[in-house]
Symmetry: C2
């Protein structure tokens, strides 16, 4: 039941000619689906409307030929074919009574245009780099008219495709911001000079779009308000002035801060609501509806923000991916059921680098169409009587047991050898800055506790004989993996040679179980390239060790660049005193330290007292191997099937272990669920 | 007329049940078009058949769900929809009497599978890294059967789609090589152990594919033969033994060396035919037809390779992109017309990083469908009487004048201020390792000389008045750009402060025109990130200067990573004694050297005697601005239009300047050719 404190979140809000049914608003964000995977896009966004988001937007929609973002995927909106593809999404959103938003876009100097072979355009050419094939050229007056006409054409296509809210996108440093900035706009004509001049392009565009579709659609703009560096140097005072100028033309202000990595800051470096000191000031300049984000998952905090008057709508991208049903759960008073965003930016990595959004918390994100998965609905099993034993309560095991429980199996036992569930998350969440990743465990703990047909048993390590005697007819082994300190280097022919008598160097797990280096000076050798090596390095540095993070990669933690964390992670390590050496392959532990070679094959050495290896993980699959080695014993024990999931199959990112456990639980009734069932491939509209 | 020396190249060659009409063979290579841009793919490959390539292949075709290459584009061949899309390409190739080839593929441990969410698979898990979401798991016998069945299904789809040649892809370190390698295959079952065991997967797959489609299609395999490190440690002796084992099952051996960056080695670091010492040895093991590559553009060399018995077919990827009509030109004895590949790997950069192949030499590559451009055919202009003056004979101007000449304008004058044509290529080709880029100028010089309606005039610098007096009715300004040493840093708010009285630091052009640093110790500050900074640094180092290449980028020359040159470029700079400092933003020239800050904001300095700035280029557009500033004078001079192209619009890669000159010449009869005409967007099959 809806708590009265949260009722304010379910008030309708009028934006121009439209009415949002509540204050929950999925702001525009990329998915990888654009306009070329229309059924996938429609299913992904439609689920959010079903889950109670009163406004649901798609990603940025380039309107011009020279707003080409390839290889990144966008919802191009340039012809009837695009509009027909995107109409499916508008329809899917409307089916649940929500409003559909379209973010019309031109990147200006940020649009790569390599595939399209257009020169990039910018208000002024002078300060443009040649990162992508061509430096930007200065926009002519013809260019300005052309791009404005493209915005109008895009707006008409959006309106005709059924979209209710049309954005003129102005945040994150794209074309509109480039015009507003004195850094990037040094024009001496009517589109440059003072703020009124620099704002002219945006204001004219807004007015033209409003004239074209303003009777049918709400007009939104997305802007950056920031008092530190701003974006391209546009500080909040100027943006507030711009808001005043744009106020008569805008029905909804969508407010952000800083660059994208800051606006979508991860939980490692930004708390929830970190934007509010800046975004909260927009109210000074307008009485129109305002939406802002803050990675909010707590309805008390949301209600407080609305009550404060700062925002009219709670914007969300990542929290809506992690839990499409967040609004409904609040409405039903099911607060403990909210699957809270961890702020890990796995969604962004998967979407930006691989073209298909996913989530570390929500295994169904991006799987709505191709696998037919719904985040809250689960097909009842046709054979509920089969007793299931899941061995190992890490990410894969927790998720698998939970989904099996929801599918209605009479008895699911999740048995964990350690005293608490979570698997590797038990220690991952204790790494500096990674506390919020604990939500992966905490939410599953809460869900498992609610399932009367699932029993969670901790502190019980099962042997193969124990498993056979357990009484289950299906056994799922989810025993995870462990870091190996044996010196093996993935994809390299030579292992690290360790001193005679040493079987293994220190590993992340040994550190997290309490072992400490033998001496003050420690090298952490990171071949993994993600969060574990930096986490261990920071932890040891905080304890006073003199730490050098050594990696064969050209930068520290390259995977963190894909989660938008790279530069801030490296700055953070630097600030806490971790030394870093890149391009180094370690080859031996010597009496004085470690030796190896540089990327150029030159000898290299470092004097250290101890070495932590973050090189590779090995599956803990002994139990599985012992079980399948004796099929007769299994048969005699009444065990019909033994499955292996997660890291115990092969070590992987947490998001993928959660997915693997989820998938097996969904597909366990298939004749052979070992290999994932074929997925639907998207069809053109 | 065909030279008798080259007649051997036009002999038909039987491969299994098929006959190639000649010995010219476009080996499989990526384009960015895959199966999802079917009309673009068909046009791109069809042109090559028209140009005389007797065999034309598409790119790698993943056959399994866990051979997912996203975000890279492949010609998936997994269902009838893919086959229908690719049939358009087979038809386009057949239209010109050539054979169509399909390269069936599984990457094993190299397939990223992040979008598909499959675990990666490999013969053995032990040495697998977790670069992309999951470490590889060991293939079960079920996996082996499944993947083999997928190859068979792919072969049937290829056959039914009209393809004549079906590959089982085994080179470049993918799944077949992983089975052959003792590094990556440590299996103890029938698919591991000795070579016969490690070859079993490949041999069985070849046999199954042969059984399925061998009566209808030629069976090819692509392998790596290398005696240095091999690929994954598979050395040539083992590969020759594999060839002997596979001989009865294979109709065509496609042979490569090393990893992809070596096999597609650029002209900077690899001469033509560098693979032959290894690929030439395959003949020892088989009498079956062999195809190999070598970036061959010289028919004498091609004929010699055939006569030597090393190869039966001349394979080409890049030379066929640079000149689809290379075989026909040889057949017609038009050797000087061959547009020779420069070996710059712009094709690979554009295809891999941006999803659409292009070429530094051939402006029509990748534009066959979307712009309707043919590399050898040009629409006659409807108004040939308009006299055209092109000012500036750099990449854009040369290309533009040439295409205008081919379009039949009565009089085209190309006027260059310097004593030789080439623009920035005049000095670029003199940078160490970049000599082959001179082909861009040389080919155009040859072509321009053949066009009676185009006059090339050098050593004549035109003022605005000169242009008005010239007698042209159309003026095209292609005056290029110049490097600026004024300290401006693109996309950074702070310029580099230079000592009082110094207006500009040294630039690449000043160095190439003969100026030298004031002292022994020189910093080259590279914000450009491509070939100019490293080229200048190497040149100075070779002359005995003590050179440090400083860059704000996290690696030296990141763009070279996209051309596959990065690691070898950096190794090369290291080997010739160039010091490198990354992550450094230079902020000032001090009395003792240079000062700035690290990526972490810490102060940084370097003692040097002089500084070369490779920061940014500025358009040389004074002439254009002077002309358009006085429309009445233009009108009085009878000039109807003044156009600006290439670097004079905005500095850009050479490939894009060539493209821009080409485009304007194609579109100059349009009402307003300033902005490129709209392109066709590919339609699903």
């Amino acid at each position: 039941m809806l708590d009265a404190r949260h009722a304010i979140l379910f008030e309708p809000v009028t934006i121009g000619p439209k009415v949002l049914p509540n204050r929950f608003y999925q702001v525009p964000h990329a998915s990888g689906f654009g306009s070329h995977k229309p059924l996938t896009q429609a299913a992904f966004r439609g689920i959010k409307a079903e889950g109670g988001w009163g406004g649901v937007c798609v990603e940025y929609a380039p309107v011009s030929a020279d707003a080409d973002e390839a290889p990144h995927v966008a919802a191009n909106l340039r012809d009837d074919r695009d509009a027909a593809a995107l109409r499916l999404t508008a329809d899917a959103i409307h089916r649940h009574g929500s409003l559909a938003g379209m973010e019309l876009y031109h990147g200006g100097n940020s649009s790569k245009n390599v595939a399209s072979r257009h020169a990039r355009i910018a208000p002024t050419a002078a300060t443009a780099s040649i990162d992508w094939g061509s430096a930007a050229r200065e926009m002519t007056l013809d260019d300005i008219s052309r791009v404005q006409a493209d915005f109008v054409a895009g707006a008409r296509l959006a309106r005709d495709a059924g979209f209710d809210i049309v954005y003129v996108y102005g945040a994150h440093g794209y074309l509109l911001t480039q015009f507003l900035s004195t850094w990037s706009n040094r024009r001496t004509d009517a589109y440059g000079g003072n703020l009124a001049g620099r704002a002219r392009f945006a204001l004219e565009t807004l007015e033209m779009v409003r004239t074209a579709v303003g009777d049918d659609c709400a007009i939104a703009t997305r802007i950056c308000v920031d008092g530190r560096r701003g974006v391209k140097g546009v500080l909040i005072e100027q943006m507030l002035e711009f808001v005043r100028l744009a106020d008569p033309l805008v029905d909804l202000f969508d407010v952000t801060v800083g660059s994208w990595p800051e606006d979508s800051g991860t939980s490692r470096y930004y708390p929830e609501g970190h934007q509010l000191p800046w975004t909260g000031r927009v109210r000074e300049a307008t009485a129109k509806p305002i939406v802002g984000v803050g990675r909010y998952t707590n309805p008390d905090q949301m209600a407080a923000v609305i009550r404060s008057g700062a925002f009219d709508l709670i914007g969300a991208a990542r929290p809506a991916i992690a839990d499409p049903f967040l609004p409904r759960k609040i409405h039903e008073g099911r607060l403990a059921d909210i699957r809270e965003c961890t702020g890990a930016n796995v969604c962004i990595m998967k979407e930006e680098a691989f073209g298909h959004v996913g989530c570390i918390q929500n295994a169904t994100a991006g799987e709505e169409y191709r696998r037919g998965w719904h985040p809250e609905r689960f097909d009842p099993t046709p054979e509920p009587g089969r007793a299931i034993l899941v061995v190992g309560a890490g990410p894969a095991g927790m998720e698998c047991a939970m989904v099996l429980g929801r599918r209605g199996f009479d008895a699911v036992h999740l048995v964990e050898a350690e005293d608490e569930i979570g698997g590797r998350l038990r220690w991952t969440r204790r790494l500096p800055t990674l506390g919020d990743w604990g939500r992966i465990t905490d939410w599953r703990r809460t869900q498992l506790d609610q399932l009367p047909n699932v029993e969670v048993i901790t502190g019980r390590r099962l042997s193969a004989a124990d498993v056979r005697d357990y009484g289950a007819s299906i056994v799922i082994v989810a025993t995870g993996s462990r870091w190996s300190g044996d010196g093996t280097q993935p994809e390299r022919s030579r292992p690290i040679s360790l001193p005679a008598g040493t079987s293994e160097a220190l590993t992340p797990e040994r550190i997290m179980m309490g072992e400490r280096p033998a001496g003050q000076r420690v090298a952490v050798y990171d071949v993994d390239g993600y969060y574990v090596g930096p986490g261990i390095a920071e932890l040891l540095a905080a304890e006073g060790y003199e730490v050098c993070l050594v990696t064969p990669e050209p930068v520290v933690s390259p995977i963190s660049d894909d989660t938008l964390e790279g530069p801030m992670l490296r700055q953070h390590l630097h600030d806490v005193g971790v030394a870093m050496q890149v391009g180094i392959t370690v080859l031996e532990r010597t009496p004085d330290g470690i030796g190896g070679e540089t990327e150029y094959g030159d000898p290299w050495s470092l004097d250290v007292d101890d070495l932590v290896l973050v090189t590779h993980q090995v599956p803990t699959d002994d139990l599985y191997r012992a079980l399948v080695a004796d099929p007769q014993a299994l048969s005699a024990a009444g065990i019909d099937a033994v499955h292996l999931i997660g890291d115990a199959v092969s070590p992987r990112w947490i998001s993928e272990s959660v997915f693997d456990g989820h998938r097996l639980a969904r597909e366990i009734d298939l004749p052979d669920p070992t290999f994932p069932a074929a997925v639907l491939r998207d069809q053109p509209a």
